[in-house]
C-alpha cells in the first residue's frame, strides 16, 4: 500500500515539474478566487468488514448496482497551491455480493424471536443507499493540471441492506448445537436496513485532472470512519464500513 502511494506521489511530482510553466494556460478564473465545479460520475464500492475476517472464505461475485453520483462544489483558491472546496454530492449506489462463509456467527431477530448460531454456506447481500454526502476538502495543486484533495465528510443515507442465506447450514447457538440445513430453494432471508446508521462521517480523498479547459476528470474515495451499523446491532459480529470510489467528469463554470 505504501509503495503504491509512493509511486503515485512520484508520478505526480514528475508531472508537476514538467508542467511548471503552464499555470496560466490551465488555471481558470478561480486562481485566487471563487469557482464552481459540477460533477457527475460512476460509483463503485460497497460495505465491507475491514479487514476481511477469516470466516469469509471467498467472494463468488460482486456486482456494483446503480452507482451514480452528481454534485456541485464551490471552490475557493487562497494561493497558487492551496484552496478549499465544499458542496453536496447526491448519490445512489449499491452492491450485490455473493460470498461463501464458514462458521460465521450470526443471529437474526424477528419480533420477540431470535435465532443465533454459526452459519456455513452461501450468503447473498444486497445493499442500496440513497443520500447526500457533503465533503469539506482542502485542495492542493500539484501542477497546473493536477489537484489532489482530502477532507472529512458527513453523509445522510437512506439505506437498504438485506439478503439471504442458502445452500448451507446453521449450528444453532454454537458449533455444537443442532444443525439446521438451509436449502437453495428455501433460502432464509434477512433485512438489516433499519439497523444501519443514517448519518455517516468519513474521509474523502481524491484527485482532479484538467483534461481540457473547463473539464476535469476526477477520482475519489469515500471511506466511512464510523461503522455502517448502529452500535447496538450485534447480529453481524464484525464491524462493517462503507468504502466507495467514484470516477467521473467535472465541469468548471
Amino acid at each position: 500500500m505504501k509503495r503504491i502511494l509512493f509511486a503515485i506521489c512520484a508520478f505526480a511530482v514528475t508531472l508537476s515539474l514538467a508542467a511548471q510553466e503552464k499555470w496560466e494556460k490551465w488555471q481558470l478564473s478561480q486562481l485566487n478566487g471563487w469557482g464552481v465545479d459540477v460533477r457527475a460520475g460512476y460509483v463503485l464500492g460497497g460495505t465491507t468488514p475491514l479487514p476481511l475476517p477469516p470466516e469469509i472464505r471467498s467472494m463468488e461475485s460482486y456486482k456494483p448496482q446503480q452507482g451514480f453520483m452528481w454534485g456541485v462544489d464551490v471552490t475557493r483558491r487562497f494561493n497558487k497551491r492551496w484552496g478549499m472546496k465544499l458542496g453536496p454530492h447526491f448519490f445512489m449506489q449499491g452492491m450485490k455480493v455473493v460470498a461463501t462463509v464458514k462458521n460465521y456467527h450470526m443471529g437474526i431477530t424477528q419480533g420477540d424471536d431470535y435465532v443465533e448460531g454459526n452459519y456455513t454456506g452461501t450468503d447473498v447481500t444486497n445493499a442500496k443507499y440513497l443520500g447526500v454526502t457533503i465533503p469539506v476538502d482542502a485542495t492542493f495543486n500539484l501542477s497546473p493540471r493536477w489537484t489532489v484533495f482530502a477532507g472529512p465528510y458527513v453523509s445522510f443515507i437512506s439505506p437498504i441492506f438485506d439478503g439471504e442465506v442458502y445452500d448451507g447450514y446453521l449450528r444453532e447457538g454454537d458449533p455444537t448445537g443442532p444443525k439446521i440445513e438451509i436449502a437453495s430453494d428455501t433460502p432464509a432471508t434477512y433485512d438489516f436496513s433499519d439497523d444501519m446508521r443514517n448519518v455517516q462521517v468519513g474521509l474523502n480523498i481524491g484527485f482532479d485532472w484538467q483534461a481540457v479547459r473547463h473539464v476535469k476528470v476526477f477520482g475519489m474515495l469515500d471511506w466511512g470512519l464510523n461503522p455502517a451499523f448502529r452500535s447496538d446491532f450485534k447480529t453481524i459480529e464484525f464491524k462493517m464500513y462503507h468504502l466507495y470510489a467514484s470516477f467521473g467528469l467535472a465541469y468548471s463554470l
Partner: protein, 400 residues
Amino acid sequence: MKSKYLLAAMAGAAMVSSCFQGEPQNSECDITQVTLSLNQPEDYFYNPADTMQLVSTADSVITFYMRKGADLTSITPKFNITSGAVISPASGVAQDFSQGPVYYVVTSEDGMWNRRYALNCMLDTTMIADTVRYTFDNYELEPNGKFYVWYEWNSDETRNDCWDSGNPGYKIARSSAKPEEYPAVPVSTGGVDGGPYLKLETVATGGFGNMVNMRLAAGNLFIGSFDATFALKDQMQATCFGRTFTRKPQKLVGWYQYKRGASMQDRAGKPYEGGVIAGVNVSTADMPDIYACFFEGVAEDGSDYLLHGDDALTSPKLVALARIPHNYSLETNQWTRFEIDFDYETYGKTVDPELLANRYYKFALVMSSSIGGAEFIGAVGSTLLIDNVELICEEEEKEQ
C-alpha cells in the same frame, strides 16, 4: 492514461485478494456415524444392517438394541467424526457395555469445542402386549425446558420414548414461545377418563416461518423421530415415522374432539382454494388426520426403512393401514370414539410370523391437527384433542 488505470485496477485486485485470510480450522465436533465391528453380527442383531447408525447432530445419546444373549462385555465401535476432530476413547477400541453406557468426548480441530456422547449397547427385552395403550398421561419438559415430550410405559415397566412431534422444529422458528404455545401440548385434566389428554393445534410460526415460507405448524404427534436438521430444508424428511413392532395390529381405537380453524391458507399464506391433499379431497375447511401404518421396516439393501411425511400413505412397503375416514365432517366438541380396522387387503401382503418375531416389521401412529400440515396448508386454530388410543393386536398363539 490507459496503462495507469490498468495499474490501479491491478493494485485494487491485489489488495482485495490478499484480504482473504487462511481458512479457519473446523469448530464442529460431531459423531456422524457409529459402526459396531462384530465377528458374528447375527448373534447381536436380527438385521446385519443394524450394526450401523447415523447420528443426528441433535443427539448425544446413541443406543443399540441387541438380541437376547448378546455378549456386551467386549464390543468395538468405530466412529465417523467431523474432519480434524479427535475422539476419546479412541475409535476401534473394544469397550465393556455390560455396566451401562460408555462416554465419548469429541474435541474439535480448533480445540475450542467439545461434545460428550453416551453410547449404549443394551438387550432389547421389550414385550408387546395384546393391547397397546397410548394414554398421553406421561409427559415432561425436554431438558432445556422449551417444550413438552411424551412417553409411554411398556408392559414390563420400562420406559418407552416412542413419541416425537414437530415441536423441535417450532422451537427454531419461535424461540420465545412458552411450552404451552407449542403446537403439541398436554392438558392435565378433562380427558375421557378425567385425566390428561393431548392437544394438537395448528399455530402460526411468526416472522421466521414467513421468512422461509412455512407460515404455520400443524400440531402433530407420532411414533418415530423428528430430525430438526431438515426442518427448514426438506420438512418431509424431518418426520421419520415408525418403530420396530412384533405384533400384528388389527384395530385402532381412541377418542377425539376436533374444531377447525376459521380460514384455510396455502403455503404462500393466501386463502386455500381446495384440492387433493394426502389422497383426500379437501375443500376450504380444514380437517385432522389420524392414521396408523404397519409396514416392512427393512429396505432392499438390508438397511433400516422408515416412512416419512411424503410417503407414509403411499409407500410400497405398507402392509396395512388404519386411517380415520374423511368422508364426513369430523368436527365435534365432545369426546367421540373412533374404531378403525386395519386394512390388509388393499396391500395384498401376508405377515410372516417368523419375520414378525425377528423384528422385520415396523409400526407408526401419526396424528395431526391439519391434514395438509406437512405442506404447510391448514387453518390456524384447528385443534385436535386426543385421548386413550389403543392398538388391538392379533392374539399370539399360546405356546403349549
